[in-house]
Amino acid sequence: MSEKEPREPLFSKKNKKLVTDPLTDNNPITIQVLGICSALAITVQVEQAVVMSASVLFVLVFGNIIVSMLRNLIPSRIRIIVQLVVVASLVIIVNEVLAAFLPDVSEKLSVFVGLIITNCIIMGRFEAFAMGNKVWPSIMDALGNSFGYAWILILVAFFRELLGSGTLWGVQILGSAIPGEEWGLYTMGYANNNMMILPPMALIVVGIIIWVQRSRNKALIEDH
């Protein structure tokens, strides 16, 4: 590499694009279809979705940094195993921290913290980006993709928690249905849609988000 290569400014147009693209037109969940496994199961409550997103953010940023630094040292034949070891070590850190400081959320997330290891977003970004790019763009890419993941996750959790249990972050928003102490919407005969708490509704909510997104941007429409 020549040393005279012009230095790119830290927030050049290209780097900014790395962050903003995955938020909409190249979203990891709705367009690239990565990381669905964990995304759907933990969107019953906003709190879980936020904790999950933060965990993925941590693992993806540090994983991208490590893989990007090692990219010229990893033999391509065993790269999958090297990447898995990097992710697994980071996920162990996340799991131990969650179990120590947020024990009840950690219990609710149960195996899904461990499943960050096989979250396709992480392996996908390692393969597609960090293996071929320098550290700084890799950080940008990791931030973009984990925010893209996070906002879909939180949006789904918002609808499921609000409509399913009438709360947000555990706080009663729509009123209370306790007999004798009813207030808010429940006095008018409103009832929670218990369906929203069940697993299949997560899929349908994501399906609707995809529908809205693709009808706004016709370029994303697939032909079957």
């Binding site: 992710v87 162990i92 697993p199 399906g207 693709r214």
Partner: protein
């Protein structure tokens, strides 16, 4: 106490990997365009789950669990003076086992069963990062199955459940090509919604009662119903 058969049936239907836990969704969505490839991937998942879960079960019980190292030194047992708990290592051990077994299986199948390799070969590398395989190991750890037979029944059941799910969605996707789906929903969107609807259908299996005690209760109530029915018939 659940019997081995209960665990097996539960893993296929009421705790289906796809419809109840969304495990392995990425490959489920990506490889379900035709029934043929779906069958290949489904079979590979059953195969790898049945091999890896028992291996991970042994690791968990003789290496990782609190007090599991008792067989080396009684001091390290659960009741010993210095109980060892290596369970924080389980993620890295499980994923290493899964990745290396997938590699091994791929090589063995290629050498000894070329026909099978032709059918499964291209899917095997995909499986190392399929959430359902690691998920199987982690659920096995969380649920603390009492014998290796139970763990194997669980893995076989989960594999079959996954197989049913992917083959069913592939068959639906093949047919839906001939129907008029709203343009923005085509492809991914409609697949999500169909999977959701299939999940709702699968929830009807939640009513199955497991375990001997409950089954007995069921039988007695069933008998009562028949008595009542005969009464009404007599009256009628």
């Amino acid at each position: 106490m659940e019997s081995t058969l209960d665990i097996f049936v539960k893993a296929i239907f009421s705790e289906n990997m796809i419809f109840a836990y969304f495990l392995g969704m990425c490959s489920y969505l990506a490889v379900s365009k035709t029934v043929k490839t779906a069958v290949g991937l489904g079979a590979a998942v059953i195969f790898v789950l049945v091999v890896t879960v028992p291996v991970n079960y042994l690791l968990e019980n003789y290496l990782l669990k609190e007090g599991a190292l008792e067989w080396i030194n009684p001091e390290w047992g659960a009741n010993g003076s210095n109980p060892l708990d290596l369970s924080f290592l389980s993620f890295i051990m499980f994923i290493a086992v899964v990745a290396s077994i997938v590699q091994l299986v791929e090589m063995l199948v290629e050498k000894f069963a070329p026909a099978l390799y032709g059918a499964l070969g291209i899917f095997l590398p995909l499986i190392a990062v399929n959430c359902s395989i690691l998920g199987g190991a982690l659920f096995m750890q969380e649920r603390q199955y009492s014998t290796i037979l139970d763990a194997t029944a669980f893995s076989l059941g989960s594999g079959i459940g996954w197989f049913i799910a992917i083959v069913a969605i592939a068959a639906i996707r093949e047919k839906i090509r001939y129907s008029k789906v709203p343009a923005p929903l085509r492809g991914l969107g409609i697949t999500f919604i169909i999977t959701g609807l299939m999940g709702i259908a699968f929830m009807s299996f939640m009513g199955i009662k497991y375990g001997k005690e409950e089954a007995k209760d069921d039988k007695s109530s069933a008998v009562e119903i028949t008595i009542e029915e005969t009464n009404t018939i007599n009256i009628g």
